[in-house]
């Protein structure tokens, strides 16, 4: 990826705590193996909606990786619940959605559930690590607006269209900032 990760860069994921929601036992095993290879030791893999909810109430999670079809199809509902669970310590945890057979509608639903990133399966260890690093470096603010809670869905930091004043005080005025690289990444993720 263009804004990618230097293979010589040092990273330390040993103390990262992850919730991994996968569709199948072997899907869970595959993703867990990859994450262990990255050095992550604390991997939680709840298999039911109740287990997943309880985990968010009793543990501090640094990252959630979830297939929307996990938890017997309730993965997306769980994620929507979490983003709106006031008082939950993990409410704003970074969230990467991973999904195999996906329509564009499903991708948009994922985004609207408050995901930070969408990754198409099957993925390689390299792709997953790049996405984890991207989410770690993501500087977008979070937004709570009506039904939506999650990272700002505006990926381009190039401000309002030319000749218009913009609608928000925080709109950039001219130059494209480095978030535009993220837009490119997202477009490629959608295109897969």
């Amino acid at each position: 990826m263009s804004a990618g990760v230097d293979p010589k860069r040092w990273i330390n994921l040993e103390r990262v705590s992850i919730m991994l929601l996968e569709q199948s036992d072997h899907g869970c095993k595959i993703s867990s193996q990859i994450l262990r290879g990255f050095g992550i030791r604390d991997i939680h893999t709840p298999r039911t909606l109740n287990e997943a909810r309880a985990l968010t109430c009793h543990s501090q999670l640094d990252l959630i990786i979830a297939d929307p079809t996990a938890l017997n199809g309730a993965g997306m509902d769980f994620l929507r619940w979490l983003r709106r669970a006031e008082g939950n310590a993990n409410r704003f945890a970074p969230l990467i959605l991973v999904s195999g057979h996906s329509t564009m509608t499903a991708v948009m639903l994922s985004r609207d559930a408050g995901a930070n990133f969408f990754v198409a399966k099957p993925f390689t260890p390299k792709v997953l690590l790049e996405r984890i690093m991207f989410v770690a470096r993501d500087k977008r603010p979070y937004v709570e607006a009506g039904q939506y809670v999650g990272p700002d869905r505006r990926w381009k930091g190039d401000g309002p269209p030319d000749g218009t004043p913009g609608r928000r005080g925080g709109d950039k005025r001219s130059e494209i900032d480095d978030v535009s690289a993220s837009s490119e990444i997202l477009n490629r993720a959608f295109a897969r």
């Binding site: 072997h26 095993k29 997953l128 925080g170």
Partner: protein, 160 residues
């Protein structure tokens, strides 16, 4: 009027990643690949079991191309798509995708011809045979055949 709140929650992941120690990105990717190899055999067996499960499901007289049965076929095909691709079984993964395309919208308007699913099962089984697995041209031909089947069936469904 909707009230919009913008804020910057603490990103614990960002802090964790920057801690001293750890490994290089290149080493992390290498180790992850090694970890995957450790479960390759088990996952290959699981893939064969999923193909067999679809075959068992669709060969029974009671199979319905609507409702729970077709949903189960779709889920298994999706798992094959996801898991085969991780181990570079590209054509098997794509065969799973083709079966997902075929069954993903089934059952809503019209029943699906179960023979189209059986063709996918036969193709998946052949892709796992060593003589086919080792021959890229044959694998591509198998996949192209599946694409034609899916396109033909989808066109028929659309006509109804």
């Amino acid at each position: 009027m909707t009230v919009v709140r913008t804020f910057y929650p603490e990103n614990r992941l960002a802090k964790a990643v920057e801690r001293p120690g750890g490994v290089t990105v290149g080493e992390a990717i290498t180790r992850a690949a090694e970890q995957l190899e450790a479960v390759r055999g088990e996952c290959m067996n699981a893939l064969d079991e999923k193909v067999a499960a679809i075959e068992a499901l669709t060969s029974g007289a009671g199979f319905s191309s609507r409702g729970d049965d077709i949903r189960r076929v779709y889920d298994l095909a999706n798992e094959i798509l996801n898991e085969a691709g991780v181990f570079d079984l590209v054509e098997l993964s794509e065969a799973g995708r083709s079966l997902c395309d075929l069954t993903g919208g089934a059952g809503k308007d019209a029943a699906l011809d179960v023979r189209a699913i059986r063709v996918h099962v036969a193709a998946m089984k052949s892709l796992r045979r060593p003589e086919v697995h080792g021959d890229a041209a044959t694998r591509a031909a198998v996949l192209e055949g599946l694409r034609q089947v899916t396109a033909k069936v989808s066109a028929k469904v659309a006509e109804r």
